[in-house]
């Protein structure tokens, strides 16, 4: 690292930004407010809110709203970006066998990642609720949430590492399989029978804490009297779980599931780092990245991005309904 450059250019820049930007924004809001006060009393409530939401709306318009429309429009143009080709980009992309594989893998992700993260999350939430060392257990399960998917992928590359049979297995998983269960070592990352599931398992390891934390909070919200009443009526533990706890957790489970579905559709980092989409483990987000960055094909990558967007729309609509239902109850 060039220390001179760091001390003379970058560090001062960072300081200037960290102190300067909030100062400028605070200045903006103060000046805006002073200007609003000079308006006639009747006009103030109409103008003031726009001063306050203005910067946010500008950012969101430039970085989210405009690009979504831009990408949809771009996906209808040819590779040169000038000829209108209607839906032919979509036809070509969907006819590409690599994309078909990516869609298949995304469906694996969607189903297995969501299901297992929920299962493990629910299991850990329910189990840990019954012991006194709940807090440290939960914080250890939750810890992978703090690290990047890139680091997570490296961790699991070592977990899955493979040596030819006969050599000492240095990867944890193959060592357990080979040393304890006497199973031949498996090339987890390359073997196309298992590699998608291996990558999804790594991702589940990372996200279970997320499901657990939300479900656990919801579990603690269930009134004790309710469980007590069920017990007095002679219900066993399993009946109480199935008939009382699970139905009460259902709204939360649904919310967590929708979030997980979005994560599954956007899966990128783990695939990019471990296999780069090789060995039939590609997913749409990585396909899109390849078309954009390696092939420089804006037509195909726009079409892929829009396909991702379309896949998310049912969840998006569900979220909006959910939100309105909650607002309606306020």
């Amino acid at each position: 690292m060039d220390l001179g450059q760091l001390l003379t250019v970058q560090l001062p820049t960072l300081l200037a930004v960290v102190i300067g930007v909030p100062a400028v924004l605070a200045g903006y809001i103060v000046v805006g407010e002073l200007l609003v006060r000079r308006l006639p009393d009747g006009a103030q409530p109409g103008v003031r809110p726009w001063i306050w939401v203005g910067p946010a709306l500008v950012f969101i318009a430039i970085f989210l709203v405009y690009p979504v429309f831009g990408t949809v429009y771009r996906s209808l143009l040819g590779r040169d970006g000038s000829s209108f080709v209607a839906l032919s980009n979509y036809g070509r992309v969907l006819g590409d066998s690599a994309v078909v594989t990516a869609i298949r893998d995304n469906i694996y992700w969607l189903l297995l990642y969501t299901l297992f993260a929920l299962l493990f999350g629910l299991l850990m939430a329910v189990l840990s609720d019954r012991v006194r060392y709940e807090t440290p257990v939960k914080s250890l399960i939750f810890m992978p949430m703090a690290i990047s998917f890139t680091a997570l992928a490296v961790i699991w590359k070592f977990m899955y590492s493979y040596q030819p049979p006969g050599e000492p297995q240095t990867g944890t998983l193959n060592a357990v399989l080979n040393g304890i269960l006497h199973v031949q070592p498996i090339t987890w990352i390359q073997d196309e029978r298992v590699n998608n599931f291996a990558l999804i398992a790594a991702a589940v390891w990372g996200i279970t804490g997320f499901a657990m934390v939300i479900l656990s909070a919801s579990l603690k919200g269930i009134p004790g009297e309710l469980l007590e009443a069920a017990r007095v009526d002679g219900a066993g533990q399993i009946t109480i779980f199935r008939r009382v706890i699970l139905p009460l957790l259902m709204p939360t489970i649904t919310v967590v599931a929708t979030t997980l579905v979005i994560f599954a559709l956007k899966a990128f980092d783990i695939v990019y780092v471990t296999t780069a989409g090789n060995f039939h483990t590609d997913v749409l987000a990585n396909r899109m990245y390849k078309e954009l960055y390696l092939a420089g094909n804006f037509a195909n990558s726009s079409a892929l991005a829009v396909i991702l967007l379309i896949a998310v729309i049912p969840v998006l609509i569900f979220n909006l309904r959910q939100f309105r239902a909650v607002e309606g109850r306020r």
Partner: protein
């Protein structure tokens, strides 16, 4: 689970009772539960512990034996992997770059979101509820849909491969969640607070800076931690807007590149990965409460 819930004695009672035959019997009755929880927890931390231990093992040991062998004597640990990776890759620069990217990309959206969330919660304006609904919708939009137009825009403005570009992009991407989180909190503040402030003749600014912000420190802390970790851990956005420029690449991008390029020196990756995890882990273990609160507040609750 055949274990009945009432058997778990309330903590206070148990502490008062000390160890009695009854508490020991309870423990034994609960044994399957304890085994299941501890077993799962141990299984959960093995991957991380394995990486951590591996990163301190000498090259010779790494290739011939698993990391667990290092846990028994003779203990043979070294810092060589860290020294090597820091001197041969630009991981050190990346470490700095990650701060350079994450701090402004947290401060800017948090400030902008605080203003907006205040307006959404306590001011009336045309289309307010619809705009807020649109924000909730935007929470689900895959960022991939935004890359191409923004790349073109950045190229024409000369912002590709610059910190400024990625600060702005992260601000835009982070705002819907940030506003959502803060507005939910601001809205829950008691209305009399605002009424009494108005009677005292305090202006909007005073109410915001003197009442709303100080009361919202927990929510702001959650947001700041959440956004900071999100940006620090982000790979995709950094690849897109900074990917081609190693001098400005954050840790995630450099680490991902090392996965592909290390070849023989594969084990140095352990040290590199752990270096990239230090800051998130410190933030996580010291401020876990706020992080969890941010996650709870962020889910669209039913």
């Amino acid at each position: 689970m055949s274990v009945a819930r009432p058997e778990v004695a309330p903590p206070v009672e148990a502490a008062a009772a000390g160890i009695t035959p009854r508490t020991i019997l309870e423990w034994i009755g609960n044994l399957p539960l304890h085994v299941a929880i501890i077993g799962l927890t141990v299984a959960w931390i093995v991957p991380t512990v394995g990486l951590l231990v591996s990163s301190f093992r000498p090259l010779s040991a790494f290739a011939t034996s698993g990391w667990w062998t290092a846990l028994s004597p003779p203990f043979n640990f070294t810092l060589d992997n860290y020294q090597h990776i820091l001197s041969t890759s630009n991981l050190g620069t990346s470490f700095f770059n990650s701060f350079m990217i994450s701090i402004p990309a947290t401060v800017i959206p948090a400030t902008v979101a605080a203003f907006a969330a205040y307006a959404f919660s306590w001011m009336r304006f045309w289309g307010r509820d619809w705009i807020f609904l649109a924000l909730v919708g935007l929470l689900a939009v895959p960022l991939q849909v935004t890359f191409i137009p923004i790349l073109s825009m950045f190229t024409s403005l000369g912002l590709n491969g610059t910190f400024l570009g990625i600060w702005l992009a992260h601000t835009g991407y982070g705002l819907p969640f940030a506003i959502y989180l803060l507005a939910n909190f601001f809205r829950a503040l008691p209305a009399d607070l605002f009424e009494s402030a108005e009677i005292d003749g305090a202006g909007t600014l005073t109410v915001f800076f003197r009442i709303v912000l100080p009361l919202s420190v927990p929510a702001l802390a959650s947001l700041i931690i959440f956004q900071f970790l999100w940006v620090w851990n982000d790979l995709l956005v950094a690849l897109i807007y900074l990917g081609g420029t190693p001098e400005v690449a954050p840790l995630t991008v450099t680490l991902a590149n090392l996965v592909g390029s290390l070849g023989q020196g594969y084990q140095y990756l352990t040290a590199a990965a752990f270096l990239s995890m230090i800051v998130p882990l410190v933030v996580f273990f010291s401020l876990q409460r706020y992080f969890v609160r941010g996650i709870l507040a962020g889910s669209v609750k039913g």
